[in-house]
Structure formats: structure tokens, C-alpha cells
Point group: C2
Chain length 371, copies 2
């Protein structure tokens, strides 16, 4: 068996909404480590999480993230389990429980909808935007948001993965803690971390394999956490435990280190990454815009996501044919989320411009044939 033969060309044409494609160099290094982490001489899957080696992995990953995002010193960087779904609960447990203030939530699509019921279990919640109608084709403008100057916090989702909607500005008002679910555009572009109280993002879009959630938490918030929380659900546990209070998913953490290293060294940072991502998205939206309505984008133009291009064809039969033909031509993961159907091309960091151009070419051909 030869490693070269294992390098299947399909991975760079994976447009899955998540878990998403990872860079080829990261996959190659990970493959080696499954049998032998070079600096340890053991399988990646059998190394103790209390080893100096894992501490170095976590330290480098944190350092890479601090460098990439210019994270200020007064922010903790945590690696947790349970996905963003557990953050939907941990955030109100830590910052709304026992608080007489109201937590404000912007509901702009599938993922932000899911965070609200969990928050209501801990205190008062005000939905400050509910999407207007129920189709979530656009985001609120800053002017449309009527916000309290006395809220516990404002929660929003920077990029709605399912609908393909992305904020191009920071909502909120000065002095109110701003909390953001950045799961699907984290590390896709520079972000002014210092304007947030808490940022969270699960790994399986731009960061690595599913099973890890990164939390950036401003230190002053830590002092407001109520007592009596369950250990695993209290951010302080993981700050004190340096993200190894209990056994973390060692494998996923190692891959995340490799991905953040790739972003720093191979890509050259988030400004460079953002430029690449903007070009990829422009390439694909151009296909939609020039299709004369054959490909119908879901999002209103000003709110289009650079990460997730959600679109439809005239009917479900044609969409099924599109998906079938796509797979036959080596394009994977193009089905839309089950909640809204349709089609979706996710252009996470590891998807290359050449991959997007190949997809654009395929979409042209498909339209010529069936348009």
C-alpha cells in the first residue's frame, strides 16, 4: 500500500456544510500520526492527555489562535466538548442564571432559533429580531435592532450556516456584553475580538474534526458566574483546568493545532484567508447571478455568506438530478440542510479556488444541459 495512492482527489471537492473539508497537508500529517506521532513514537490515539506533549499541542494551538485573531491577554482560550449546542446552555447558565437582567437574542435562522429555548430555561429572554417573515433571507440592519442599555448580554450568530446569511457588521451597543456563535465563519476572516465578551465556535467547519468547541471569554465576565453550577458546565472549571479538567478529545485537538499552524504558516494569516474566501464566494455567486434565474440564491444579496452559498433550482426533481450528477463528477456535500432543503455549497477555508472554479464549471455545464 502506497500513501500516494491513498491521496484521493475527491477531498478537495468536498463542499459539505460540516464536518467540512480539511487542508490536504493537514490530512497527510494526521495520517502519519495515527500510527506514530514523530516526536513521541506512539499512536496519536494512545498518548496520555496529561503528557507534556499534549500540553505543548494545546499551548501551540492557543498561541496560533492568539496570533491569528490578535486575541487580547484578558481573554481566556478554552477547548471544550459538546459542540455549540452545549454552549447554547452554558452561556445562560453562566451569565443569565440568577440575573435580573434580560438576555437579548437575535434570531436570524436555523442556528440562532435553537439557542433561545435553552436560554429561557435560565432567565428572561428578549428576541430583538425574529427574521421578519419565517424564511430568513436577510439579516437586520443596525437601525432595525432596538436594544436595551441594560441587557445581560446580546447573543447573535455571525453566519447562519443553513440559510447562508452573514453579518457584515457587529450588532450591539457599547457596554453590553456581546456574545457570538461564530461556528461557521470562525477563522475565515479577521475579527475584532476585543469588542466581544464571548465568542464560541465548534471545530467542524474551519478548524478541525467535530468534537471540540473553542471559547474565547473575556476575563471580567468570569467573576460574574454564579456558584453552584455543575463542574463541567462552569467556565471556571475549564479555565482552572486549562482545558484538561477531564480527558479532552486528543485527536481533534492535534488536528486543530495543525490547521491553525497551516493558517499561520501556509496561508499567512486571516487577512490572506479572507481574501481567498472572498474570491471563492464571488466566483460562485457570479454563477448564480448570471444564470438568469436557473440557480436561485436563498439570501438577499447584501446579506450573502462568504462561507455558505444556499441556492435552489426550479423544482426538487431537478435538484435531485443536480446532486446525483454532481457526485458522479466528484463534487460532494452539495445538498442543502434538511430543514430548508435545496442546495448548498460550503466554501470553508480548506476549499480551494480551483475547487470552486471546477464547481462553477460543472454548474455552467449542468445549466446548459438542463436549463
Amino acid at each position: 500500500m502506497d500513501l500516494q495512492n491513498l491521496n484521493n482527489p475527491n477531498n478537495h471537492l468536498n463542499f459539505s456544510g460540516g464536518p467540512g473539508a480539511l487542508p490536504e497537508s493537514v490530512l497527510n500529517a494526521t495520517q502519519t500520526a495515527i500510527i506514530n506521532v514523530p516526536e513521541v513514537g506512539l499512536s496519536l490515539l494512545g498518548i496520555s492527555h496529561r503528557s507534556d506533549w499534549l500540553r505543548n499541542v494545546l499551548d501551540e494551538t492557543e498561541e496560533n489562535l492568539r496570533n491569528l485573531l490578535s486575541i487580547p491577554k484578558n481573554y481566556h482560550v478554552l477547548f471544550l466538548q459538546g459542540g455549540s449546542s452545549l454552549q447554547f446552555s452554558m452561556i445562560p447558565m453562566n451569565f443569565l442564571r440568577g440575573n435580573r437582567k434580560v438576555a437579548e437574542y437575535i434570531v436570524s435562522g436555523y442556528w440562532s432559533i435553537k439557542s433561545v429555548p435553552e436560554a429561557r430555561k435560565e432567565g428572561q429572554v428578549q428576541v430583538v429580531w425574529d427574521g421578519g417573515d419565517s424564511s430568513y433571507k436577510r439579516l437586520p440592519t443596525a437601525e432595525e435592532l432596538v436594544l436595551s442599555s441594560d441587557a445581560a448580554y446580546l447573543h447573535y450568530v455571525s453566519n447562519e450556516t443553513v440559510e447562508g446569511l452573514q453579518f457584515s457588521y457587529l450588532p450591539g451597543i457599547a457596554g453590553i456584553p456581546l456574545i457570538c456563535d461564530m461556528s461557521s465563519d470562525f477563522l475565515s476572516q479577521p475579527v475584532p475580538v476585543e469588542r466581544y465578551a464571548l465568542i464560541y465556535a465548534h471545530a467542524q467547519k474551519n478548524l478541525g474534526p467535530a468534537g471540540v468547541t473553542v471559547v474565547l471569554l473575556r476575563d471580567d465576565l468570569v467573576h460574574t458566574i454564579p456558584s453552584g453550577l455543575h463542574s463541567m458546565l462552569d467556565y471556571r472549571t475549564h479555565i482552572v483546568g486549562k482545558s484538561i479538567y477531564n480527558t479532552p478529545p486528543v485527536f481533534a485537538l492535534y488536528v486543530i493545532m495543525l490547521v491553525t499552524r497551516w493558517l499561520r504558516k501556509d496561508i499567512g494569516g486571516l487577512a490572506a484567508m479572507a481574501k481567498i474566501n472572498a474570491t471563492k464566494a464571488a466566483t460562485l455567486y457570479k454563477v448564480l447571478d448570471e444564470s438568469g434565474g436557473f440557480y436561485q440564491g436563498h439570501a438577499v444579496r447584501e446579506y450573502r455568506s462568504v462561507m455558505n452559498v444556499a441556492f435552489r433550482l426550479a423544482n426538487r426533481d431537478l435538484e435531485r438530478l443536480f446532486l446525483k450528477t454532481a457526485v458522479e463528477n466528484g463534487f460532494y456535500g452539495l445538498d442543502g440542510h434538511r430543514s430548508i432543503g435545496g442546495l448548498r455549497a460550503s466554501l470553508y477555508n480548506a476549499v480551494t479556488q480551483s475547487g470552486v472554479e471546477a464547481l462553477a464549471g460543472f454548474m455552467h455545464d449542468f445549466q446548459q444541459r438542463y436549463g
Copy 2:
């Protein structure tokens, strides 16, 4: 680069307390899948968790577990995140909150100690055994346990990983739900699942990579869960969601499927596995017993664990020399848990008899030289 050269011989001499060694054939199949899951044509790390492929992975794993453990039909098999530490909280949230009954806990070592404070956050807890003195060198006999016939449940740890103590009988009384943390001896031997209400085990001992916790839950308990729990912390969410309510750690689940397949097909089931494990443990305890006190076992003989052999040398300097010499000779992971120090050889399923014999030989030689 040649795969053959990547196969480092050290993996079969990894005696780590966890994450522990995995079978070589599993590592090889996993390595291939990092670039290309043969039946999909994509990297294991980029496959959607909503794919038919992952559903098949979960279904096969459940089927393997049901076969290996003869799990009755009225038990749910769940794959969760957060480790056993999150189970310490989920169990009392689901089965003690709002309950006027008292939950009974057997405290027999490091891990059972940690479960009690979380339970106290949800209701009344009675510690029915506290180890006698604080050194946890033995377990209670059935006669020593004074149990209520009206408890909410009885919780215990079947194998204390740190101290190397293992129950050889099932504690508890008929009619009271028996809940067991089986993290470090799950799948090491047959277990009468039908006598338990809930069994949980994190993966990183005998099952696969860290990041997954298996829960076996008897259906009648589900109907007693109170309302108002956070979605991710309510067992019903994961029953309804068939373990993919949110994105699961796809990688770890795939490896667990391979390990359970290996147990069924290569090992031939848990009775065969138990026999192998008993021989391994006997080989190593013989070294301790015949060392004339050079190697001092931690556990009282009748309570010795088949999985974890905890022992000491005369002083810390000699232990440090042992660890250093061991690594030089290719034996890894032999340091004791940080809470009690000393030394520990963990003999999880993937550790082979030949590996244990090699360790026994090394220990003989070390004694000859320094005894």
C-alpha cells in the same frame, strides 16, 4: 514514505492509563480512512454526520455492542460527548432532581469521589461506603454495604482506574436502579446488563479515542426524567436524536466501530477477551508477588483490578529510575496517576499477552539490577 515504516513497534508496549493503546489492525484501518474512507471516497474528517454512511457506522456499532454484551431490547444505546465527568452531572439531573428519594453512592477511589459533589447539586446523597481509611486499597464486601430499599438509585464505579480496584460482584439490592461507571473495564469481560439501570463508559480505555461516552439506559427510567432540563443534558434528546442531535465526533465513532468489530470478529467476544485479560493480569501480579516486596501492589489482593495494576517501589527516586529505564526500553505510560503517584501498568484490551510478558521480563531485570 512507506506505511510499513510508519508502523512503530512501540504502540503495543503502551501501558498508559488512558487514552490507552488500540489494536494495530484498528490503527491501520483508521490511517487509511484519514485520507479515504473506502466506501465513500472522502476523508473520514470531512464526511457529514447526516450521511447514510455515519448512520451505518452508528448502527453497526450499536449492533456490535448489543451482540458483545447481550444488551436487552429495552435498553437504549447512546453515544454522547463530555466524558464520564458530564455523566456525573447528567445522572443526578435526570434521576435525582425533584426526587424526594436519596441517591446512594459507593465511594471507593479517585473517580467515585468525583461523582458525589455533582450529585449533591441535584438532591440528597448518601455515601454508603467511603473507603474505610483514605487510601482506597480495598472495596466493600456485599455485607458491609447498608443500603436503603427506597433509594433513588445506587451509583458505583466497577473498576477504580487510579487505585487498581475492581468489583468482582454486583452491589445493590433488587428493585433499586443500579448505575455503574464502567469506564475502565467496559468491554473487558461479559456483564449482566439486565441487572443495571444505566451503565456508562467513556471510550478512551477499551473502546476507542477520547471524546465519546457510551450510555446504556433501561427504557423505564426514561419516563421518570423531569421536564425543563437543558436539551443536551436530557437523555431523551439523544434517544430521539439517535445520538446525532448535534454533530457527534465522527472520527471517534468510526474508530469505536472498528474496535467493536475487532472484538467480535478477531477476538471472538467478551468471554474470550476476559480470558486473555485474566492471563495478562496474572502474569503481571505474579511479578509483584514474587518480588519479595520490591514491587508493592497498591490493592489488597482480593480487590485487584484486571485492568490497572498499581504498584510502588521503595522510594520516589527508584520509581523515577524505573520510568526512565522503561521508556529507554520501549515501555510507555507506566507512571501512576498524579493523585497517588507510584507506578501503574494498564492492561486494556489492546495490550497483548506478549507485551505484558515483555514488561514482566523488564521488571525482573530491573529488580535484579536495583533490588
